[in-house]
Structure formats: C-alpha cells, structure tokens
Symmetry: C2
C-alpha cells in the first residue's frame, strides 16, 4: 500500500488528489490528530513523532511513504530516509519544481505554518536550483485551526487570509506556493486575495504527479503495491468534529479508525 | 510546592493570579505544549495525559494539584482524585460558585472549548446547585489559537469574539463564565462585546481564592508547602513563540524548562 501520514487531517488533501490521479492504488493514511498541530512544535518533537508514524504505516503494510505534512517534510525527511529502506517522499520538493516551472519573473511567494516558514526550507531549496530567484514568505499560523474548524469561507477567514497575504502583495510575485497541506481547502479565497495573475501551486497536486511518474518508472515498487482501489484511515484521536472535517475534505463518508500512538 | 498543570500556556493565567494572591507559596507548573490543545481531543486521551502530568508534578515535589485546564478538569478530576492521595483541585467548581453568587436573574452564560462545552459539565453542575437556573453555552474553538498567537486585540479577534458571543446576546444573561484558562487574556474584548451589564467570571481568580481559603483551613497541608516565593515552569515542548506567549501572560521574563513527556 501507499502510506501517507500527516499531523492531522490536512494531509487528506493529498489522499484526495491521489485518489483522482491513481484511483486503483490502495492507500493507508495515518493522521496524528492526538498531537496535532505539528506547526508550532519543535524540530526534535516533530522528528520523534515522524518516526513513530512511519513505523505504524510500515506495520500496516506501506511499501512507500508520503510525508503529507510540510512541517514534518522540512525536518524529518532526511532522518526517515536514513533509517528506513523504502522510498520516502515529501511534499516540498515537487511543489518547488512546479513553482520553478510556472514562474516567469522568478519572484515566488510561500505561505505555511510558523515551523515551516522559520525552517527556511523553501527559500533554501529554491535558491539551490535557481540562485537568481527571489522568495518572499509569510507564516500563517491561524489557517490550520480555521480549516480544522471547517470555517472555509467565513468573512473572518477571508480577513485573516487577506492580512496574511498583505506582506506578499506589492512584491510582484507571479507564483505562490501553498506550503501546508491544509491550505488547498482555502485555495479560492487565497487566489481571490492574492490576485488572479498569481499562479497558485497546490502541493497535493504536485506530489501526486510525482508519485505517479515515480511508480510508472519503478516496476519493482509498482508490483509491491496493492491495487484494489481501497483506502484505510487511521487517526491517533477521534471526535465528531474530526469525522466531519475528514468528510468535508474527501467529499465522501469514510471510516476513521482510532489507534493509540 | 503547589503543582499546576495545563494543556499549554493558558494555565499561566492561574499562576499569575496565584502569585498575586499567595505570593510566598512556591509553584511548579507543567504546560503540555507538545500535545496542546486538549480542547479538541477525546475524553480518554485527555485522561491519559492528565495522569502523566500529575505524576510529573508529584515527582517534582507537588503536595497539592491544580488542574488549570477546563477540558482536563471536566473529564479527569474524578479519576485523579481516586488514584492520588493528595488534594486535587479543578477550575470549574469555584467559577460556578462565583457565578451563582453573582447572578441575580439566574441566567448564566458559559464559553469554552468544544470539549468543555460538549461535556455539558457547567450546565450539570449549575443545575445541581440551582435547578431554577438557565444556562446558555457556546463553544469558541478558535480563541485558544488566537491567544497562543498573541493576537490579543486584533480586529479579527474582536470579530471572532463577537461572532461567538452572538448566540448568547438576547438571552438576558447577567453573568458569563470564562470556561477556559486562556480567555482571561481576552477579558476586555469579551466584556465589551457581551455588554458591561454582564458580570464576567474569571476562573483563574475563583480558583486562587478557593486555594487561599483551603490552605488557611488546612494547617497540615500548609506546613507541607514550601514558601520561598519561587516558581518553576516546565513544558513538554519549547519554541520561541511559547517563550513570548508565556512572558506576555505573566508580564515577566521566566525560564521555561523543557522535559520529555
């Protein structure tokens, strides 16, 4: 199976895109809802949690891991790749590649949680590949709680998105990376507030395309993946609100299974 | 020492009031910042965390425990009292007692996290003591993230507070309980939006008064508590933002010590 983990439910935007692009592949998802959010936690804590989540997915039959959380992607990918002998994918690199293909003026905006933005990983990776680029970033810590609340189009959400995007306006960016897997759920508001001339890069689409082409070129991995078009969803804590939010993201009823992490 | 725990930093409002009311007593605080927030987590998960937090405080020398978190108070007090042979206090009962003394028309409002409000504990406990009372409550899940962000007086915060209080307006409440230890930091906005005729009950003040009178009446416990006017602060995760928020709440520089929970 394809294993996907996230700090909570935001990573379901990746599952949603994977289901569209690779409908026959089985997915096992783990959302660490008991310890969400990761975005305000320290590096060491997030690395520790990422090890535990990966162990769980492997135990559940994962042969390939996607870290569908930008915070964990930015701090834990390298550590996980060193330890485990299976392909580990993160959501940052494919988004950067798409952004670099899309930009014309090389002025790229990035929004994410405080941990992701403070890690400077987007800027570093963009500069490695395109030293003449200019990267403008801003942390938007309240967007995850707003999404988890299901406030996807409330006036308060619009105001907060506008406030967070304000520092990026006037920088002439032509491309904006959504550096958090929750943000695709606010894509319309973000597009409206940043302006329609700016291309939005949705990392859930970028990672799904990358996985698709990786699988096509890796017959051995492809053979190890089950293909019954079935998905399983595990969470470390369960409440009615989590069920509602999961349904809202996937636009279908799913069963969330509670496991103690 | 007096041991105080909370899901994060909101419980520091209790420490702040304790320092004013009982300045000579030593306090050991534990903020579970790695697993914050508790308000959206399930009952079982919050009980498990509360056991761990209490064990830690006892190990650090606590002879009396205050659960400075409404979510944990509502689900874990009974379990902790059963297990540990030392006085366990929670923040709900003293706030209810103050509200019942303050109200004239017995129409009482309560705001808190979704877990606290869904537990119905305020309504139950108020009705036990005053069956003719009317309780109107509303969950305000975004206020904790807004406080943790330090957005204490931003227009967006005012709008969100107004929206959350809207269902309580027109119910003629004359008393409003702040059922979350983060909310005293938004007291002025809440007072402004609910109207100055409504008496606000700040549970951090209620619990500090209760502890003061308990200690005065329990010489044995009083003797077991150290009184050097010193406080120690432990957290399960540490970031620069946590340090800033802690300072903002306590209005002084403090040292937060990181412990693995």
């Amino acid at each position: 199976m394809i294993g996907i983990f996230d700090s909570g439910l935001g990573g379901l935007t990746v599952v949603r895109t994977m289901m569209k692009q690779l409908p026959e592949y089985d997915i096992v998802y783990f959302g660490d809802t008991a310890r969400t959010p990761y975005g305000s936690k320290s590096r060491e804590t997030v690395i520790g949690y990422s090890f535990e989540n990966t162990e769980f997915l492997i135990k559940m039959g994962a042969k390939l891991i996607i870290i569908a959380c930008n915070t964990a992607s930015s701090v834990a990918t390298h550590k996980l790749s060193e330890k485990y002998n299976l392909p580990i994918f993160e959501v940052i690199t494919p988004a950067i590649e798409n952004a670099l293909s899309a930009t014309r003026n090389h002025k790229i905006g990035v929004i994410g949680t405080r941990a992701t933005i403070n890690s400077n990983i987007y800027e570093q990776k963009i500069m490695e590949k395109k030293p003449e680029a200019h990267v403008y970033s801003n942390a938007c810590p309240l967007l995850v709680p707003l999404v988890e609340e299901g406030w996807l189009s409330k006036p308060e959400t619009r105001m907060i998105v506008k406030k967070y995007l304000h520092p990026l306006k006037g920088k002439q960016i032509d491309t904006l990376i959504l550096g958090c897997t929750h943000y695709p759920l606010l894509k319309d508001i973000i597009q409206h507030k940043i302006g329609k001339q700016v291309k939005i890069i949705d990392s859930s689409i970028s990672i799904a395309s990358q996985i698709k082409s990786y699988i096509q070129n890796s017959p051995e991995i492809d053979l190890s993946l089950s293909k019954k078009g079935k998905s399983k969803f595990y969470v470390s804590d369960i409440t009615d609100q989590f069920k509602l939010t999961a349904q809202k993201i996937l636009k279908q009823k799913i069963h969330l299974e509670h496991v103690i992490q």
